[in-house]
Amino acid sequence: MPSDQERILARAAREILPGQIINLGIGLPQRLFHYMPEDQQVLVHSENGILGCQPLPDDATPDYEMIDSGGAYIGASPGASVFDSALSFAMIRRSRVDVTFMGAFEVDQQGNLANWKIPGKFSPGIGGAMELAQKVDKLVVLCSHNDKRGNPKILQQCRLPLTAPNCVSLIITEKAAMEVTDQGLKVIDIAEGLAVDELRAATEADLMIDESQVGRF
């Protein structure tokens, strides 16, 4: 049986189409690197200034001038380009990145996202998240369904300062894949073996679930 994170990543990888440009947020999303199908001609954008980064093999000698925005040493895919930070964010603001995957502290049924600041506790700066969240057409949140104390992270309304309002397209947790629609949060897939009632119990947001349509993952 896959771990929770493996389940999230395997489901998330299905959101990547051949020939797309994607951005992987720090943390869990960056591990998507290892879940991408081969030969899909996907280029991974990293906002520090590269389009076409790829993981280094474990035995490779790192190039000290090649990192991604999470600080990992990386290699360059065929067709890669490197550029300055202004151009990198031009690409983001012009919606030339197709899909971005991000973590979340909180996400809600309106598609609001909070993932950069916990007032009084944690505010190291927003980095590139605000522009990615606001401008990339498809934002997929990858996060645990509940926080470490078991509290729901999928809310009716975010309480923390927002990264961007109404920006999330899809939320993937170890329990479900949920699409943000104009009507609210629609459950597309539920984790293998999880009952609908269990999912609702772990979730604060109102969930629309058509059991005849829901897939398993």
């Binding site: 020939g19 001609q41 389009l51 890669a80 380009s81 690409m91 603001r93 012009r94 401008k135």
Partner: protein, 233 residues
């Protein structure tokens, strides 16, 4: 965005995407960097009622000069059209609406759209005739004019070597407006003298990354004005 693996196309298909009435950015300062092959295909296909955005109007018999002469262009946004006698006549006769900006402001207005911002502030031209058309605000005690971004439906750009993902490199003074326009339009069509496989260009030397380019076509240098004309602009 066009898939990375579906950008390489024929010149006919690429230009056929442009409808009548489109706004089109055209690279080039004079001849260098002007996408002559794309423009000649546009002339051949017959689209009309166009708005063109280009530094200049080329000369009367080449590039966008041919489109202007053929009556396909309703409106031109430029910096200087002094080398195209026909464009000046059409402007003076009221058949061609021309909007002109100082060259650096034109470049920056295009880039501004290209980076996804609605406008910028400048002190250029504050005490001149061009100031009368602009809205001014105070910022930190300084007067600034607001320059709105210029965006277009299409951009036609000329590259030297490209790859099939749409990465572009330019050569010499053919760079000029091309990389700016390649960011500023909804659909970007690039012509290139050489088209290689992804990975053939050094990542540091790519001027326009693939993300900005929708369609790329290979053109023969010999069919372009660059290759056959005797005088520069």
């Amino acid at each position: 965005m066009t898939s990375l693996n579906k950008k390489h196309t024929s010149i006919e298909e690429a230009i056929a995407r442009i409808p009548d009435g489109a706004s089109i950015m055209v690279g080039g300062f004079g001849s260098p960097g002007t996408p002559f092959a794309l423009l000649d295909e546009l002339l051949a296909q017959g689209q009309k009622g166009l708005t063109l955005i280009k530094n200049d109007a080329n000369e009367a018999d080449i590039g966008i000069g041919r489109l202007i002469k053929a009556g396909r262009v309703d409106r031109l946004i430029a910096s200087h059209i002094g080398l195209n006698r026909v464009a000046i006549e059409e402007m003076n006769a009221g058949r061609l609406a021309v909007e002109m900006y100082p060259q650096g402001l034109l470049a920056e207005k295009i880039r501004c759209a290209g980076v996804g911002h609605p406008g910028f502030l400048t002190d250029i031209g504050l005490d001149t005739e061009i100031a009368s058309h602009r809205r001014e605000i105070e910022l930190d005690g300084r007067t600034c004019a607001i320059e709105p971004a210029i965006h277009a439906d299409f951009a036609l750009v000329h590259a030297d070597v490209a790859d099939t993902y749409g990465n572009l490199t330019y050569r010499g003074t053919a760079i000029n407006f091309n990389p700016l326009m390649a960011m500023a339009a909804d659909t970007v069509i690039a012509q290139a003298f050489r088209l290689d496989a992804p990975g053939s260009l050094k990542p540091e030397y790519i001027h326009t990354p693939s993300a900005f380019v929708n369609h790329v076509v290979q053109v023969d240098p010999a069919t372009s004005e660059q290759g056959i004309r005797e005088h520069a602009v």
